[in-house]
Symmetry: C2
Subunit: 248 residues, 2 copies
Amino acid sequence: MSLMNAFRIVLVEPLYSGNVGSVCRAMANMGFSDLTLVAPRIVDGWEEGEKLAVHAGGLLRGRREVATLEAAVADCAAVVGTTTRLGLYRQHVRTPREWAPALLQAAVRGRVALVFGREDNGLANDEIALCTHLVRIPADTGYVSLNVAQAAMICCYEIFVAGGAFEAPAEKSAPAAAAQRSRLLALWRQAMLAIGFMHAEKADHMMQGFQRIFSRGVQTADDAHIMMGVARQALWAAEHPVPPHPEP
Amino acid sequence: MSLMNAFRIVLVEPLYSGNVGSVCRAMANMGFSDLTLVAPRIVDGWEEGEKLAVHAGGLLRGRREVATLEAAVADCAAVVGTTTRLGLYRQHVRTPREWAPALLQAAVRGRVALVFGREDNGLANDEIALCTHLVRIPADTGYVSLNVAQAAMICCYEIFVAGGAFEAPAEKSAPAAAAQRSRLLALWRQAMLAIGFMHAEKADHMMQGFQRIFSRGVQTADDAHIMMGVARQALWAAEHPVPPHPEP
């Protein structure tokens, strides 16, 4: 059972079903499943919401609707409010990344609500007062107000990443070890001399360039094999002149 | 001049203007300004795009349109492709958070493109081959495909946050220091005894509870002042019985 199931996404009086649908897709992308709407004011029907939820239409249709924020969070041990404004009640604000570990810990033992305000007017002061944690998403001072689905995505993403459920794609090839790197450079020195790329007296200097390039570019044993193959082929070619390609 | 100006957001053959508008808003939220579309296939006119860009309509109207990805990134020192698929060419993938520092460093000296694929079909192999860096956004295995504007938001957000341009809202009150915490607890011991909350022989035990609660809840000098005020008022009340409130 994933910890994400202990989180509830709460949207207060959403206006556009497209935003609700986008929130559903973001929730599914990050492994969340509990959606509650407070007194939705949807002005455009639910078609756009279904369209933007794409494969998360089940979350949209499974939403709970309640009349007040109080009812939406009644069973929650932690209530996280999102805000872009500062002021009374709004001083103790942290970023989603700062709060994520504490929220995951709270989710081990209880339910945690992430509350997002109205598209046009955010959360009111009496709603902020219901929150145990306040979040402000880092943003450029020129335009601090995020779309509600974008804000939900960033909060869900930060919690998902902090939860450590994501395994980065494994590199299939082992890292290139120092001994292999030495063999690679030795082979290149031999090949570059053989094909006349450099003279013996300049070899040390030129090899520093390859050393620099390979140290960045050759990361895995596979990479090293490829570049060693290049050197071996160059050596072969230097000893066995290739017949000129006939014109097509 | 912000480093974000060295980044270019490239959308390959976008279909829905709403997504392009949402990308513009996300860009403006995170301080990005350079938008290039590759062979856009917009099927729904630009009205929805303007609506979803909200205050970032200038970015939408200032977009550049080119015929190929090659043209879009011709002047870029680093080209970052986003992908959800693994396979040939797609093994050396990292998360946006892992790449962000390297990309910011690249942006000091050159232009950096963040490339997002088609809504319906991502990036093709020959487009992936143009990329110097590949990114995969952490997501739940049940639904790994993000909306293009959500993907752009997370990439821009990670770079913005790694750039350190965001200053967290400063706590206006200083942290509560140890000496103040001691005074607070001494005052509470006195007050809790005075109002008969606890007997002297249980005081040490009960005070451990307050110690625990205050260590979490009382973070700043302001917090401590408030809780000291409560104790002082309780002491006063214990010595000056309050007249019963008259019924309204």
